[in-house]
């Protein structure tokens, strides 16, 4: 089975994030890494593709960034499509979905996997927008995925527990963290990844018009950014064996006991 995995490349979440002072978008100048959320998708894709299929990565990222893609290729993905174009700066979730859809159409996969939401933007709608644009059904919030007889079976998280959902292929599935344990790339994998093909495309290559993407295509803007009301830090007590007594007092003050 051929699987496309959406692989977002993001600034290292450990580094403090920053917004562009003018347009208020996230600053993405430095090196980007594979979003952890998508590492689960890559692993799931590799397991489902099996020996007779392969995983193709699709990514939209600035400045021809490939570091995150190399990580996923080292895990075992066969190849990647990277869409990178100055015209994409400021693209919103719907615009991103349009770009990913055009790239995915070139592969014509049996299954598309994305994460339920990314770590940096966490809009959480891109994969479903993508499914609608591709004319595919989708199952979101998967905590378990199996494929059998041309159908995908998903345990989908719900408020109360989970649903067993069935869906014919081709379709889009979004996975949660914990769906599978991502493998660490082996040394052999890392070496092999260096020579795996990464096709780089521009907005024009995809047949999209520049006004469908970027700041213009977004049709939404950030008006202002302001510090949130701070929640002042309170009293700190180091436990010397009696901290529970201070908690009891606190509960009494709140009349909870």
């Amino acid at each position: 089975m051929n699987v496309v995995v959406c692989a977002k490349q993001i600034p290292d979440p450990a580094a403090p994030p920053a917004l562009d002072p003018e347009r208020h978008t996230l600053v993405r100048d430095g090196k980007l890494i594979l979003d952890d959320s998508d590492a689960y998708g890559v692993e799931m894709g590799l397991q489902l593709a099996g020996d007779d299929g392969e995983v193709t990565l699709v990514s939209m990222a600035p400045n021809g960034e490939v570091s995150g893609l190399r990580t996923a290729l080292a895990m075992g993905a066969a190849k990647a499509i990277l869409v990178s174009d100055e015209a994409l700066r400021g693209t919103d979730a719907l615009g991103t979905a349009k770009v990913l859809a055009k790239a995915i159409e070139r592969v014509n996969p049996d299954l598309v996997i994305a994460a339920t939401e990314s770590t940096d933007g966490y809009t959480g709608t891109t994969p479903v927008q993508l499914a609608e644009l591709l004319g595919l059904p989708s199952v979101t919030f998967a905590k378990k995925v199996t494929v059998e007889g041309g159908k995908v079976r998903v345990e989908r998280q719900t408020e109360a527990g989970y649903d067993e959902v069935e869906c014919p292929l081709p379709c889009v599935v979004t996975v949660t963290a914990g769906v599978v344990e991502p493998r660490y790339p082996s040394f052999k994998g890392i070496m092999a990844a260096k020579s795996k093909p990464v096709e780089q495309l521009s907005v024009a290559d995809l047949g999209l018009s520049p006004d469908e993407v970027g700041f213009g295509g977004a049709r939404q803007e950030i008006v202002s950014v302001a510090p949130a009301e701070e929640r002042g830090a309170g009293e700190i007590v180091t436990d010397e064996g009696d901290a529970h007594e201070r908690i009891i007092q606190f509960l009494e003050q709140l009349k909870l006991i």
Binding site: L94, T126, Q129, P137, S138, G161, E164, R219, I236, T238
Partner: protein, 323 residues
């Protein structure tokens, strides 16, 4: 341009509208003269009383969807309605699993953008501006749509209080769900409901949550015991949900539940930004963590630097002795 009409997606659970739908109706009626609710899954007549009470004049009912996932069907029905000329200025969608699916599909169908993770809404010159908490809630970003209406806003739970307006039942209008073909092929085969006792996590007055600092799955019993003694609910960080210690329905945070209890007690939780956004709205916060540098202390009213395995058993004993 004024805001005249707002639609609110009123997903149901156990035969009642989800609490966020009532919060959004309350907010919608403060901003627009005409408020319509959208329901699916059957039983609309039974929901019309509550929806009317909170501000809906009309309920658009899509009926039973026959076990199909609602995303593509609800989006298609609403898109058709909008195209036929019945245009709201905004559509409010609760941040739920199905809500996000519907919003995404509807956005692509109508070719209008979405604003998600909304935690506040204000009106400026006849326009809606949405507020988003970013960077762990330290910054508030305000955004607006610049293109054609309707604007689709996906709004987080507990962003607004739910207040009854005391109105009568809404009138129910049936909308037909168009045939959409392959996109709606996903269907639910079976539902699994996890057992739960005590108050619901997102409604409880006291929430006691545990994190990786508990060390092992069996120690979660301390958290449950403390929650029980305080008549509260037991929550969790994602770390221990992913590790399989507790079911997902316990998760508090960005991808879990948003809670706003009178008291939140965080036990062995570091206070990652994605956890904080789900519980920072609590009136009071107690944190127990052995690392004095843990970020959770920056939001705690009472921070205990200590070992959960020492503090919790003593606290539980002391509470038991009082009852």
């Amino acid at each position: 341009m004024a805001i005249d009409t707002i639609w609110v997606l009123a997903e149901q659970q156990d035969g009642a509208p989800v609490p966020t739908a009532l919060e959004l109706l309350t907010q919608a009626r403060a901003m627009a003269g005409t408020v319509k609710a959208v329901t699916w899954g059957g039983g609309a007549e039974g929901l019309a009383g509550t929806l009317g009470e909170y501000g809906a004049q009309v309920v658009y009912d899509l009926g039973d969807l026959g076990g199909k996932l609602p995303g593509p069907l609800v989006a298609a029905a609403l898109a058709e309605r909008v195209r036929s000329g019945d245009q709201p200025d905004a559509i409010f969608v609760p941040t739920t699993y199905d809500g996000r699916d519907i919003a995404g599909r509807l956005s692509a169908r109508l070719d209008v953008p979405v604003l998600t993770n909304v935690v506040g809404l204000v009106e400026e010159n006849g326009e809606l501006h949405s507020e988003h908490a970013v960077f762990g809630g330290t910054q508030i970003v305000t955004a607006r749509f610049t293109g054609a209406r309707p604007g689709i806003f996906v709004i987080r739970a507990k962003s607004f209080p739910a207040e009854s307006a005391g109105g009568g039942p809404a009138s129910v209008e049936t909308l037909t769900v168009p045939e959409v073909g392959a996109v709606s092929a996903a269907s639910v085969q079976q539902r699994h409901v996890e057992e739960r006792s005590g108050p619901k996590l997102d409604e409880a007055d006291v929430v006691v949550s545990g994190g990786r600092g508990l060390g092992a799955a069996e120690h979660y019993a301390l958290v449950e015991e403390l929650a029980r003694l305080l008549h509260g609910a037991a929550g969790a960080s994602r770390a221990i949900v992913d590790a399989g210690w507790v079911p997902y329905s316990h998760q508090v945070g960005q991808t879990g539940k948003t809670v706003k209890p009178t008291l939140y007690i965080a036990c062995g939780i570091s206070g990652a930004t994605q956890h904080l956004v789900g519980m920072k709205g609590a009136k009071h916060i107690i944190a127990i963590n052995k690392d004095p540098e843990a970020p959770i202390f920056s939001v705690a009213d009472l921070g205990i630097v200590g070992d959960v395995h020492k503090v919790l058993p003593k606290l539980i004993e002391a509470l038991k002795a009082r009852s």
